[in-house]
């Protein structure tokens, strides 16, 4: 049996023409365009940064830095990928750098490490969901939080932010196959963890 997925995922890319127009305008120093770009992407990028570094203040700072950098280098802001992919890419790199430098600097500082281990209190996006479903969704995403950093990132990008495998590969600088692997392993992990949670309950019955 062929174990590789037989085909690449159908969706390869989505490019927003409007975002491209914004990039052109920003390059020419148009501040309104820059503001639009910020408003359009801030929410998603913040949520993504938070899922990576788990610190609200630092996530905010990182988004600020990414946009500040874009503005300061606006005249040379030529990008080959979609703006959305570019921004996720930039935030991801900034987060990785942040983690690396802070972990090294604060290796002995327990407080900081504790903070990184604090899982954000996620709530389902759809407020209309019934309680049971909403509980299950929360449970799944909490398990995702305990996954290794890179796998967590791939899972978030795919399921939460709706990026295609191809786009995730660009953001994370890995192959599409590796993305697929991460997704597959995430599913396996979540299933196993859910089973663990449910096991003790069953034992009570005896």
């Amino acid at each position: 049996m062929d174990m590789n997925p037989s085909e690449d995922p159908v969706l390869i890319s989505f490019v927003s023409h409007t975002d491209q127009t914004l990039v052109e305008r920003i390059r020419q120093g148009d501040r309104v365009a820059f503001e639009r770009l910020f408003y359009k992407h801030h929410q998603a990028l913040f949520q993504f940064a938070l899922s990576m570094i788990r610190s609200r203040e630092n996530a905010s700072d990182i988004i600020q830095d990414v946009f500040l950098k874009i503005w300061r280098n606006r005249q040379n802001w030529y990008i080959k990928v979609d703006v959305n992919v570019y921004l996720f890419q930039a935030v991801r790199n900034q987060c990785l750098n942040f983690l690396q430098s802070h972990k090294a600097r604060h290796q002995l500082e327990k407080r900081f490490l504790d903070e990184l281990q604090t899982v954000p209190e996620w709530v389902p996006e759809d407020a209309e969901l019934d309680e049971k479903k909403s509980y299950q969704i929360k449970q799944i995403w909490q398990i995702v939080e305990s996954m290794p950093e890179k796998r967590r990132m791939v899972f978030h990008l795919h399921k939460k932010h709706g990026l295609s495998y191809q786009e995730i590969a660009q953001v994370c600088d890995i192959s599409v196959r590796t993305v697929e692997n991460h997704v597959a392993q995430s599913l396996q992990y979540i299933r196993a963890e859910l089973e663990q949670i449910q096991l003790p309950k069953k034992k009570i019955l005896f």
Binding site: E7, D126, G162
Partner: protein, 349 residues
Amino acid sequence: MEEVYAWIAESDENLGLFREFKRIWDLAEYGIRYPESPSVDLEWELLRNRLDQVPRVLELFPLKQTSNQRLHSFSATFMRYAAILIFTTLMSFFFVQEYYQSIEMIVQEPVLREISTSRAERGSVMLSDGTRIVVNSESTLRIPNHFGVDKREIFLQGEAFFDVAKDPNRSFMIHVNGATIEVLGTRFAVKSYPEEDEVQTVVEEGVVAIHSLEAGLTDRVMLTRGMVANLDLAKQEIVTRSLKDLAGFLSWKEGFLTFDQTPMAEVARQLERKYDVDVLFASEDIEEMKLTAVLKSRSITNVLSVISTSLGLSATLEEDRVLFDHVKLYKDGKPSGIGTMIETVVTEE
């Protein structure tokens, strides 16, 4: 793909496993968010204050990252995860359900990715089979993770132009508002916004087949190059005609607005979508007025000026609201500044 179904059918364990994966997958689709997200206004205010500051130090991290942060190759451990990879493979086969009824129950819905454009946004989509799609404003495409073996199916709401890659073995089907549009490989546009109760198909090249069970059109209606079909879902009828101005119908792809005896009510909807404004009419009869124009300008003030001039109307743009009115006369008999001239109250932009 029979192999995959065979794998599921092989044992109850496999079936159970697959069912669980599918459940997790679907649940995770809902997504979560952090409840205390910062106010975007506040964040923008903070950033805005920093924009003009001269950087004291290059405090920013380099954007490129070093190679030791790259993920390892998983090829060695690949096989270990073979079983679960079947899940991803399975996504391709959700559309082929005819033979395996027992599995059909869990495989009811394909896993889809959704692409939406907001008002004033257009976008391009590329699919793995080489098909390209241009999506107009306020439209949604739902695309399966994998195509089936004998068809390529997607779902549309709104307006999109399709350049479908030829594949004689797999027809390409677009499900839109109760109708199905089927092609092998060709270029055409489909429009069906929820408020319109109509599906319009314009063919630029090749042959396109339309049928709609919902509208009682079981026989396919075939369209060829240069033809437009309007399927009226309420009246359950389809009207086809040849177009003189094919390019006009497709010019939205380039960001133009083209109107051909188009009622102002429809013009208003297109303006709303394209410029993210609300369009109001001071009196109802303006909605019935018909406009014929090709508007290439990107600026809404120019566009409003052309429309108001050609119909003898006035157009007022205030923030994001446009008001069309009849030109009122002053006591001295001169128009109140509008009609030939557009009165605009533009804020910052």
